[in-house]
Structure formats: C-alpha cells, structure tokens
Amino acid sequence: MPNFIHSLDASNVHLLLNNISNYKLPIYTIHDCFASTPNTMFNLEKLVKNAFIEIYFKDEGYLLKLHKHLVKSIVSATDPIQIKYQNDKENIVVPLNAKSENFDFNQITKNSANTQITVMDTETNDIINIPDMPSGYKDKNKLLNSFIKGLLNSKYFIG
C-alpha cells in the first residue's frame, strides 16, 4: 500500500504538469507541496484540484477501475473452471495450480457486482475469496458528482 499511495501522489503531480502548459505559470513541487508566484496561485489551486478530480472522481472512480484491473490479472493468469450461481451471485472458482485456457474474463469485470470469484489452491484445497470492493463503495460511487462539487468548493484542500 505505501508504494500505491506514493504512486497516487506522483499521479497528482504528473496530471497537474500535463495540464499546466496552457497556463504558462512557474511551478515547483515537492511531494504534496506546490509552489508558484503569488499572481498565479488562484490558477494553481484550481489546477491541483482538477488533477485530483481526474484521479478519483471521473467515470466510475479509481478504486473500481483498479479492482477490475486486479481481478483481470488474476483470472487471466489462471484457468477458471467452475461457474455456478450461489446466493444470486455468479460464483467462479479459479484453481491456482492449473494452466490457463481461453476464458472470457470480460464477463466478470463487466458485472463484478453480481460475481463472486473464488480462488482455490488445488493442492491444499484452501479457498480464498477474491475480495470484493470495500463495503458500500458501489453505493458511494453515486456520490462522485457531489465529491467534485465538494472539492471545488473546499477552501483548504491545499493552502
């Protein structure tokens, strides 16, 4: 997780610098600190916020994008063998020790809300559920627009 959070700090700077060229404002950054000259601070604050919005609150939210990517990595490296419905959820068992065959993992990632993916170690019969998104995330996902509004209104996001 520390590397992941560092990569998000870096993304904020990366996206900011991508967007800043049109504004011709001088800037230097250190981790989560952004410096410029007094006459450009208003624009700088707006641009830092926009970069943050681009990271977290665009489309379906970054955590869901990340989750789909991680599930895809697991499924594409294994061979899902069993698909059945359990508790109204599609249950996919991925044996850890089998070789991969063709499997349409898009069907999982398209509708991950109704899919429970289970990883099974066929040597020890250990079963591990691929973790679902942190609880309530999908409901909170509806709040993305209010987060954008709330962030743009925040006076002390950086300061």
Binding site: M1, P2, F4, I5, S7, L8, D9, A10, N12, L15, P26, Y28, H31, D32, C33, F34, A35, S36, T37, P38, M41, L44, E45, V48, F52, I55, Y56, F57, L63, L66, H69, L70, S73, I74, A77, T78, L96, V119, D121, I128, N129, I130, P131, M133, P134, S135, Y137, K140, N141, L143, L144, F147, G150, L151, N153, S154, K155, Y156, F157, I158
Partner: protein
C-alpha cells in the same frame, strides 16, 4: 516579511518569492477519496457540504486523530498511560505516515524525538515531561509501559480509522492471492503509468561465525 519590508520602501516592488501550497495530510486525502468516505474527506478538506464555503474553517486531521488517541489513553488499564496528555506536535509525524505503512517501531521512534531517555542503573525509562501529563508531574515509563503506549497509538491509527482498515484488508487479501499465484502486482496510475511490483518471499537462514580468529 522580506516582501513586506520591500513594499514599505517601494510599493511598486515586484515580488517573485514563491508561495507554497501544502496539501492538508495528502496520504489521508488519497484514502478518503479512494474510498469515497465523506466524513474522512471533510476532515482533510477534500470535501465541503457548505453552500457558502467562505464561512468554512480549515479542518485539522491531526487534531481528529489526537482526540481518538486521547480517548483510548483515558481508558488504558495502565495508570501512568491514563495521565499522559499527548499533543498535536507529538503525534503529527506518526499520523502523517499512516498511509505509508507506519510500523510499530516507527511510531516508537517518532515519539522518542519528543521525549528523553533516562537510564537508572541498567533500566531504561522514557521521561514524559510534566507539560505532557494531566497531573503536571514528570512521568517515567519503563520499557513495557512505553511499548504499550506505542501499541495503543499504532492500534488507534491503523485499526480504528474505518476507511484505512477496510482498504488495508482489501489490499492484503489481494496481495495474498498474487503471492500465491507468484504473479507480479501491476497497476496503471491515473496518469497512465504502468507499475509492476513483485513480492519475493525470503527465507531466513541463521549462521554463526567468529569474526575474530581465536586459534593460534
């Protein structure tokens, strides 16, 4: 100050000193935004519900975390710990580094930057000055008590903040599967950079060797 002095002498002085904007606890801002936790987001100024933000006051996450630590200290089974009155400055570094996997040892080291270590004969004590105790008296924590103080802070910061806890559990479960599959963990940052991260399990082998020759 320098700019102000320059302005007094010449109001048309061009000031080119940079101004620095610092995020308010960026690690927690990332956690709150990832998990879309409104309460946490409010505490780190990512989010405001106010219709007129000009009346908003800055939120201070360190004070919020300090409150939680103080609550936990006040019900500690150890009498000496109940008398400790930590302040924002003492816990700031530990709080700041929560999202970057602060360890128990790390918290102990951060605390020792503020307190003095005293040796009485061969026993080690950490002196908590009267300014950091409710009774106003200096407190002397032995190794076990200081260990318990460190653990209490660690527990509050890593287990009692709901978003951090659920996010850590999510990542730990995912990493467990990747390690079992012997797969590198990859992710694409929001800026489009692909990161590949491999966990390698090390085994420990202990050996004994004499560095100084003892024979003739």
């Amino acid at each position: 100050m320098q700019a102000k002095l320059l302005l007094i002498h010449n109001p048309t002085t061009k000031i080119s000193n940079p101004i620095l904007f610092d995020a308010s606890c960026s690690g927690i801002q990332h956690i709150a935004s990832l998990t879309l936790e409104q309460e946490l987001a409010k505490n780190v100024n990512v989010y405001t519900e106010s219709s007129d933000p000009s009346f908003d006051y800055p939120q201070d996450f360190y004070i919020y975390a300090l409150g939680k630590i103080r609550d936990s200290l006040s019900v500690s089974e150890i009498e000496t710990l109940r008398d400790i009155k930590l302040n924002r400055k003492i816990i700031k570094r530990s709080v700041m580094t929560i999202p970057y996997n602060i360890s128990l040892t790390g918290i102990g080291e951060h605390l020792l930057e503020h307190f003095e270590v005293i040796w009485v004969f061969k026993e080690r004590f950490v002196k908590i000055p009267g300014s950091a105790s409710y009774s106003g008296k200096d407190l002397y924590l032995n190794t076990s008590e200081f260990g318990n103080l460190t653990k209490l802070i660690y527990f509050v910061l890593t287990k009692e903040l709901p978003s951090l806890k659920i996010l850590s559990e999510y990542f730990n479960s995912m990493i467990d599967i990747f390690v079992r599959l012997n797969l590198p963990i990859t992710w694409i940052t929001p800026a489009g950079l692909k990161i590949r991260y491999t966990n390698v399990k090390f085994t420990t082998t202990k050996v004994k060797a004499n560095l100084l020759a003892t024979g003739k």
